[in-house]
Structure formats: structure tokens, C-alpha cells
């Protein structure tokens, strides 16, 4: 990663926090590519699907974006979250990993590969209450806008936004809840 990436990502994130949705989509896509490069480099043993960790990291970045201080660079923040989620993913599968701290300079952005494998996030999505699940699916997999989703389900746009927000927060929380062993509440749905 270069200083140019840092400057560009920081700028996009600041614009996003100021309410620019297009900047936020841009930020997320670029960040996904950067995180994917980082995660793929780190996973040398099998058992963990890199794309699952990329998705967990993006969700964590989203629900924790209020923890980024605008006067600090954004990439160290992104990498710290990605590293945390990667260690978490290994720990959940009963493995210990040591991840070197400062490898930021050697990471390359990578595009998402086509894959047919079942994603952790789908199982988390299945665990949501039906209302939240259908709204999240409509906006993500089915690619509808907030307005189109409101029309489809015959509810207000505000109600769509609330369901979407709660659904995403619940998915992010379920990823986190698996952190210390797989027997806890809300975990069973993930590992079958």
C-alpha cells in the first residue's frame, strides 16, 4: 500500500462520514480489495476461506466506523480490524496463529474470485428474523434500492432502513459472538 492509497481511502471515508453514499461504496470496494490481498497472503494453511474473513472484516469496519478518528490514517485502522478478524477466524477453528504486525507495505489489492462455496454470512443471514432477512437479501443479493425494497414489501423506506441496519448489526454481532468457542448462544446455526 502506498501513501496515495492512504490519502485516497481517508478522503473517501471522510466524505462518507459527511454523508456521501457514493464515496462510501467506493471506499468499501477499494478496502475490500486491500483486505483481500492482506488476508490471502496471511492464510497459508487451509481451513479458513479468505473471502469469509474479508466479509467479516467489512461488516466490522461498517458497524465500528465510529471508532476511526478522522485525524488518524485509515489504513492502519483497516489492517488492525482485518488482523483481529483473521485471528478470530483461526481461533474459532481451534488453531493458533501468529500474525506479524507490520506487513502493511507488502500487501496488494486483489479482486474477488468467483466462488460457489457456502458462505458464513449466508448462515448468519438465515439466522435473522424473517423481516430483517428479507430486507437484507433484497438490498444485497437481489440488488434492489431502499425505495424498491419498500415498494416490494409495502412498508415505508424508514422501516426498510431500520430493518437493514438492525439486520446488519445482528450479523456482525453473530460473527463476534463466536469468538470464544462454538458452544455459546447464537452459535449453533453457524457450524453444522
Amino acid at each position: 500500500m502506498t501513501g496515495k492509497d492512504e490519502a485516497e481511502l481517508s478522503r473517501l471515508m471522510r466524505a462518507a462520514i459527511a454523508g456521501d453514499e457514493r464515496a462510501y461504496a467506493d471506499f468499501l470496494r477499494r478496502t475490500a480489495a486491500v483486505v483481500r490481498g492482506f488476508i490471502r497472503r496471511k492464510i497459508v494453511q487451509g481451513g479458513v476461506d479468505p473471502e469469509d474473513v474479508v466479509q467479516e472484516t467489512l461488516l466490522a469496519i461498517h458497524v465500528k466506523r465510529h471508532t476511526w478518528r478522522q485525524d488518524l490514517p485509515v489504513l492502519p485502522w483497516v489492517y488492525a480490524i482485518a488482523r483481529f478478524k483473521l485471528i478470530d477466524a483461526f481461533r474459532r477453528r481451534g488453531r493458533r496463529v501468529e500474525i506479524e504486525i507490520d506487513e502493511i507495505a507488502e500487501t496488494f489489492a486483489e479482486p474477488e474470485a468467483e466462488t460457489v462455496s457456502e458462505r458464513d454470512i449466508n448462515r448468519a443471514l438465515d439466522g435473522l428474523p424473517p423481516g430483517q432477512r428479507s430486507v437484507v437479501s433484497s438490498v444485497s443479493v437481489e440488488g434492489r434500492s431502499i425505495g424498491e425494497t419498500a415498494v416490494k414489501f409495502g412498508i415505508s423506506e424508514t422501516a426498510v432502513r431500520v430493518s437493514l441496519h438492525r439486520g446488519l448489526a445482528a450479523i456482525a454481532k453473530r460473527f463476534g459472538a463466536k469468538q470464544f468457542g462454538a458452544r455459546g448462544f447464537g452459535v449453533r446455526g453457524f457450524r453444522r
Binding site: Y24, R29, K64, W68, L164, K173
Partner: protein, 212 residues
């Protein structure tokens, strides 16, 4: 769900906003201080001779130790709850309070005859100290753990322990206004144990509750 689909959903949720973590820490600090103050007044209250005690060095020194601990722990926990933030400098400042206590202990040993050391160390109410500092600090600790949960600590157990030190520093600051034992020998022993109890509780809380 492909990652691109997930990004669509996250982007659609872009308008939802949350209070910056820095503000949450200040609100948490104010709330914790109020809780500690209420617990202090309900449980013990200030000592009766506080007006004259305020002019003695040993009494005032207790507040220097506890406030130094609270301030340095507050700076460290803010860094620990922010992913990627530098923690080295804040961690280094954590030695300030123990160092001040160590210097005070040295001065006390120098200025007080050895025959008196034991009496000053044991003091008059160490059990009250050991129970009331954790009692005053437990509410603030819960507040700090809640703010940690709102943040994103990549080392939850360590962050929880620092939350305990912060709650301990705050609780001890109030308790010091009640306690009649002003000798640094007493403070270095019993205050430390009482604060360590809160730090251990904080580490446990970090392990169990601070997940994200």
C-alpha cells in the same frame, strides 16, 4: 452472498450514524464519576477532619497517586479501544502512578523510624479499604466495559484490565477522602490490592463481554 452484494447492503446503510468513540469515552467518564460519587456518599462519605487533613502532605499525596492512575489509564484505554492506534506512549505513562508511590514509600521509610513502619503499613481500616474501593469502582467498571464494547479493542482482555485500573483509580480518588490512613506504606499495599481486584474483574469482563 458475494462480497459485492454485501457492499451494496453496507452502502445502503451508510446513513445510519453513531456517536464518535471519543465522545462516548467522555460521556462514560462523566457517568462513571457521578456513579462513584453517589456510591461514595452513600457508603462512606468524607472523613470528619478533612478540612485540616487537606493541609497535610500525606493526605494530598494520595490524590496525586490515584488521579495520576486514572488519567494515565483513561489515555491508554482510549488508545486500546481504537484499532490501529498507537498505544506505546500511553502505556509508558502507566508507570507514572506506581513510580510516584514508590518515591513516596522511599521518603516515608526515610522519615519514619523503623519501629513505626509496621503500624503505618497495617493502618486502622484496611478491610474497609479492601471492600469499599471495589464497591465504589464496580459501577464505573461496568460503564467502562460498556464503552469498550461500543469501541473495537483488538485486545479485549488487556483493555478490560485497563478499564479496571481506570475504575480503581477513580474509586480510590473518592475513597482517599474517607480513609484515615495516609501513610504511603498503607496506600502502596492496600490501595494496590483493592485496585488489582478491579483490574482482575475488568480482565474477566473483557474476556466475557467485550466481543465484536
Amino acid at each position: 452472498m458475494r462480497t459485492d452484494d454485501l457492499i451494496k447492503a453496507l452502502d445502503a446503510d451508510a446513513r445510519s450514524t453513531a456517536m464518535p468513540l471519543g465522545s462516548a469515552w467522555w460521556i462514560g467518564a462523566v457517568a462513571a464519576t457521578l456513579i462513584a460519587a453517589v456510591m461514595f456518599w452513600l457508603a462512606v462519605g468524607p472523613r470528619t477532619d478533612i478540612a485540616t487533613a487537606m493541609y497535610t502532605t500525606r493526605f494530598v499525596a494520595k490524590f496525586v497517586f490515584t488521579i495520576a492512575l486514572a488519567i494515565s489509564a483513561f489515555a491508554l484505554i482510549r488508545a486500546l479501544s481504537t484499532p490501529g492506534a498507537a498505544t506505546g506512549r500511553a502505556a509508558a505513562w502507566m508507570v507514572a502512578a506506581p513510580l510516584l508511590v514508590a518515591v513516596a514509600v522511599g521518603l516515608e521509610l526515610f522519615s519514619v523510624p523503623a519501629a513505626d513502619w509496621g503500624r503505618r503499613l497495617v493502618g486502622s481500616n484496611m478491610l474497609i479499604c479492601l471492600s469499599f474501593i471495589p464497591l465504589i469502582g464496580i459501577g464505573p467498571l461496568a460503564v467502562f466495559l460498556a464503552v469498550l464494547r461500543y469501541g473495537a479493542p483488538t485486545r479485549p482482555v488487556l483493555a478490560g484490565a485497563v478499564a479496571g485500573l481506570l475504575a480503581g483509580g477513580l474509586a480510590a480518588t473518592f475513597y482517599a477522602a474517607h480513609c484515615f490512613d495516609d501513610s504511603p506504606l498503607f496506600v502502596a499495599t492496600w490501595y494496590t490490592i483493592a485496585i488489582a481486584i478491579l483490574a482482575a474483574l475488568g480482565a474477566l469482563g473483557g474476556r466475557l463481554f467485550v466481543r465484536w
